[in-house]
């Protein structure tokens, strides 16, 4: 645990660490993650076409996919990206940028299955996020179903977080 005096978190942000994040921050993180998934899809398509061009330069044509397929690939990529990021570090790049982290009811990062289920639920029903504005504990529908929370955590690594499991679970840390 890093002493408060030496914490890299700015003084003005310290009172919020460990509290449940609100709609705007989480939506911002979601938009960034959507862009990341989009970039991944584009890079994937470019990569596939590059491989095809290398293998068969003659008669090469850019792969054309129906819009439904592109959307499907995008959603699948987004779900995998979200699940992997939440399971591995508790945060996606969007979460990292907005200074939030996904934790389970014990304040730890969610397990692989829980992360995958959460990602699929977000991809299938993104409007569930709106419930964190109307809900009592700033939890989205996905959070309520899976027992997760999203908290402000500006520490770069989960291991450096001064957030205790109990504090993270109840949001009483001030």
């Amino acid at each position: 645990m890093i002493p408060a005096a030496a914490s890299p978190v700015p003084r003005e942000a310290r009172p919020y660490q460990g509290r449940s994040a609100g709609l705007v921050t989480r939506a911002g993180a979601g938009v960034v993650d959507g862009l990341v998934a989009l970039v991944l899809v584009v890079l994937g398509l470019v990569g596939v076409n590059g491989v095809r061009f290398v293998l068969r330069p003659r008669g090469f044509e850019v792969t054309s996919m129906p819009a439904v397929s592109v959307v499907g690939v995008f959603l699948a990529t987004l779900a995998l990206y979200l699940a992997a990021a939440w399971a591995l570090g508790g945060r996606t790049y969007g979460c990292h940028l907005m200074g939030v982290r996904v934790v389970d009811h014990d304040g730890r990062r969610p397990g692989a299955l829980r992360a995958l289920a959460r990602a699929v639920l977000y991809v299938v029903f993104p409007l569930g996020l709106l419930w964190c504005a109307a809900g009592r504990s700033r939890r989205s529908v996905q959070d309520l179903l899976l027992g997760t929370r999203v908290v402000y955590d500006w520490m770069p690594h989960a291991g450096h977080s001064s957030l205790g499991p109990g504090e993270a679970a109840t949001g009483t840390r001030t």
């Binding site: 005096a5 030496a6 914490s7 890299p8 978190v9 700015p10 003084r11 003005e12 942000a13 009172p15 919020y16 509290r19 449940s20 994040a21 609100g22 709609l23 705007v24 921050t25 911002g28 990292h96 940028l97 907005m98 200074g99 504005a133 109307a134 809900g135 009592r136 504990s137 700033r138 402000y152 500006w154 520490m155 770069p156 109840t170 949001g171 009483t172 001030t174």
Partner: protein, 193 residues
Amino acid sequence: MTAADRQSTGLRSPSLLALDVTVATVGPAFRAAQAVGRQVPTTTRPLTWVVRSRPLVAIARRGRPYRVALLQDLDARLATVLTTVVEQVLRRVDLTALVERHVDLDRLVAGVDLDAVVARMDLAALAEDVIATLDLPEIIRESTSAVSSEAVREVRMRGIAADDVVSRAVQRFGVRRPRAHTSVATPDGGPGT
């Protein structure tokens, strides 16, 4: 006096002669003073009786507070005078130069038990003060890529503020009731609604 006479009496040098003359003169005077001293208690016994008599003791009792007050006053004046004198002396004397010239500081410091000094120090508080002086958190922030950017910090703080605005708006419309553990703090750290 012949040389033989001088040798027989031991008066061979003028200094010894002077010493013997002095002893011959002072010795009887000392013995006389001793005899007088022995007679003093006998002589002053009536005077002691007078001094210890009741009227004089009563007078002495009345005089005692004056004596005490006088001593206190004298003590205060002496302290003032001494303080002034010492200050004037210290002002005119370069103590540092004196110490440098006459005191072996290395030897002095070598005799100091530094472990005991360190044990008496509150090192944790000292470290806190040093950290506060150096603004170590800012240094750590600058060296930590995740939160080094001022822009990122600004975006995050604005996000937190916007979250609070949304929460308050939702509460105002009565969509939800606030709960203690999710209360929103104001950006200045105070309790929010």
